[in-house]
């Protein structure tokens, strides 16, 4: 069997290095042009993923030059029996569920609002995209300033203008509120992406659907519920999936705003680069990935029904 397939492969390799026909030449050029992509992806994505699995089975002592000592599943057992890990997982779940729902719904609402003719529409569209486009590093400082406990605008409005709060709150740096700030920030930042995708789909719904409904006397709500939302179902479901994958692993948006929000990605980062436990960090990120994959497969099966 093995010998047979080997002889089958032989003409293939022969044609690769010594092309004769035009289609063989094309194939050789094809491999040649795709080679940089394949090499880079293998070296910088596939190999590190496998290396991460190996690392998660070792105990890495001070610095990577010394090499690890194989410890089997010890890191995973440590991770799974660590209540801090499960606390971080809970935080990640709250963060992901609320930001996915919040960003998608707000994006939907704003898309429905802007999906009509009015003066300054292009400008409004550009303004809505700003939170998504601005570099994180340049907007986190404005957020910290806005929610500063001593002189921030948020506390001024909530305490002195609206009298909703008795005392000013340290929104960004207190463990109690930091998670909600991070969620608020991420919804603000991510909703334009949902907006962009949803409004593109809205504009492709044929006008005749609405005209037919109007003849039947349907009002705005009925048209939205019976025509618009069913048409948007697939876009919204896919958007939620993409956002889930991104936010489950979210790091920079959380960590740059506040060091007090302990989602799993921050937990793994600190384990690996503050405590220098690379093996444990690797085990945490591998576990995070396994949980993410299970969610995604479940979602694809139950919600998208692929």
């Amino acid at each position: 069997m093995g010998a047979e397939s080997k002889t089958d492969e032989l003409p293939f390799f022969k044609s690769l290095f010594n092309p004769e026909t035009k289609s063989q030449k094309e194939a050789r050029l094809g491999y040649f042009l795709i080679f940089p992509t394949v090499a880079l992806v293998t070296g910088v994505i596939l190999y590190p993923i496998l290396y991460n699995l190996w690392l998660s089975l070792t105990k890495v002592s001070l610095g990577p030059s010394q090499g690890g000592e194989f410890v089997g599943l010890a890191n995973y057992i440590d991770v799974v029996s660590d209540p801090q890990f499960w606390g971080a997982m809970g935080t990640t779940l709250i963060y992901t569920v609320t930001t996915v729902a919040g960003a998608t719904l707000l994006g939907l609402a704003v898309a429905l609002l802007l999906n009509r003719e009015f003066i300054g529409r292009a400008l409004a569209r550009g303004v809505v995209l700003l939170p998504y486009v601005v570099p994180i590093i340049s907007i986190v400082f404005a957020w910290k300033y806005l929610f500063n406990p001593v002189f921030g605008m948020a506390n001024f409005v909530l305490v002195d203008v609206l009298h909703l709060l008795e005392n000013p709150v340290n929104w960004v740096e207190s463990p109690q509120y930091a998670l909600w700030m991070a969620i608020f920030f991420e919804i603000w930042r991510a909703f334009p992406f949902a907006f962009l995708m949803i409004i593109a789909k809205l504009q492709s719904i044929p006008k005749t659907y609405y005209e037919a409904a109007e003849i039947d006397g349907a009002n705005w709500w009925q048209k939205t519920l019976k025509i618009t939302l069913p048409q948007l179902k697939f876009v919204i479901a896919s958007l939620a999936l993409l956002r889930w994958i991104w936010n489950f692993n979210k790091f920079s948006e959380v960590y740059l705003l506040s060091k007090q929000v302990n989602v799993v990605s921050v937990y793994a980062y600190e384990k690996a680069f503050s405590a220098y436990q690379h093996g444990q960090g690797a085990a945490i990120s591998a576990t995070l990935f396994l949980i993410l994959i299970s969610f995604v497969l479940l979602y694809v099966k139950k919600v998208l029904k692929w």
Partner: protein, 280 residues
């Protein structure tokens, strides 16, 4: 009766629109006002949106290398982002041309496999990549960032260019080949010029990703001279450089290039892409 109803509708619409605009813009307004506010005015209570006195001192400080290392960070970010974006365009053009126009074994597998990379976010790669970077002797170099960012941007770049190339009629290429052009000449003489808008968009997309990246930079770099903007500005947070007005001026200067670039290609990015369009 009908007019009354439509007036109420109009008021509701404009009210909602203004609320959305304010929600999006408010942090930018604060950044802007703070960047021009005197240092003493930063802690006013109640806080003021429009500064009483306008100053350009913070911008002068930001550009003065003796006061603030902003220029070094800016230069590093510009270098890393431009090289990443240029390489991403080049590698992705070859790759996308290969799987949209040429036939060979494993072509479909590669095309689908590349999109699968979406699943592997930075946090899953940063620990092994750190070790690889150290062992390869690339620790604390900007090259380590360029290679990492290039690969991070490749899936979307390939996807965008692949979609664009499919809209170019193959008959143009066939005509050129009959006229005696080789495939490689076709890429440089026909595909490149015809795809200019797509190439520019891919360049800007990759540039923005590299300009924004913090996680890898925070792990791969250690000396201030190599820091990119996200890494550099964040490292100043708890130092004596942390003066609100100055940080806001720096923030503003960091944001402007990216916002201008994005607005230039917004039409193409939002029109030409639906899914998998933008990776974070």
């Amino acid at each position: 009766m009908v007019e009354k109803k439509s007036l109420r509708k109009k008021i509701l619409f404009w009210g909602a629109l203004i609320a959305v605009m304010a929600f999006c813009l408010f942090p930018f307004v604060m950044m802007f006002s703070s960047a021009f506010k005197l240092s003493e005015g930063q802690f006013d209570y109640p806080p003021k949106i429009i500064p009483q006195e306008i100053t350009f001192q913070h911008f002068k400080d930001v550009f003065n290398p003796e006061v603030f290392p902003y220029f070094t960070f800016f230069k590093n970010s510009l270098m890393v982002a431009s090289i990443t974006a240029g390489l991403s365009v080049l590698v992705a053009t070859f790759g996308a041309y290969s799987f949209t126009r040429l036939k060979y074994k494993g072509q479909k597998l590669i095309q689908r496999g590349v999109l699968f990379i979406y699943m592997f976010a930075g946090i899953l790669l940063v620990i092994p990549l750190f070790q690889i970077v150290v062992n390869a002797g690339l620790y604390d170099t900007r090259l380590s960032l360029i290679i990492t960012y290039l690969v991070q941007t490749l899936p979307v770049s390939l996807y965008m260019l692949g979609n664009y190339f499919r809209t170019i009629p193959e008959s143009i290429e066939e005509a050129a080949i009959i006229d005696g052009c080789s495939r490689v000449e076709v890429i440089f003489k026909i595909i490149f010029p015809l795809s200019a808008p797509a190439l520019v968009s891919v360049f800007i997309y990759a540039f923005m990703i590299a300009w924004n990246e913090y996680l890898f930079a925070s792990v791969f770099l250690t000396s201030e001279g190599n820091f990119t903007l996200p890494m550099g500005l964040n490292s100043l947070f708890h130092t004596q450089h942390y003066i609100w007005g100055r940080m806001m001026a720096a923030s503003l200067l960091t944001a402007i290039p990216v916002i201008v670039l994005f607005l230039m290609v917004e039409k193409f990015i939002s029109g030409g892409l639906t899914f998998g369009g933008v990776k974070e």
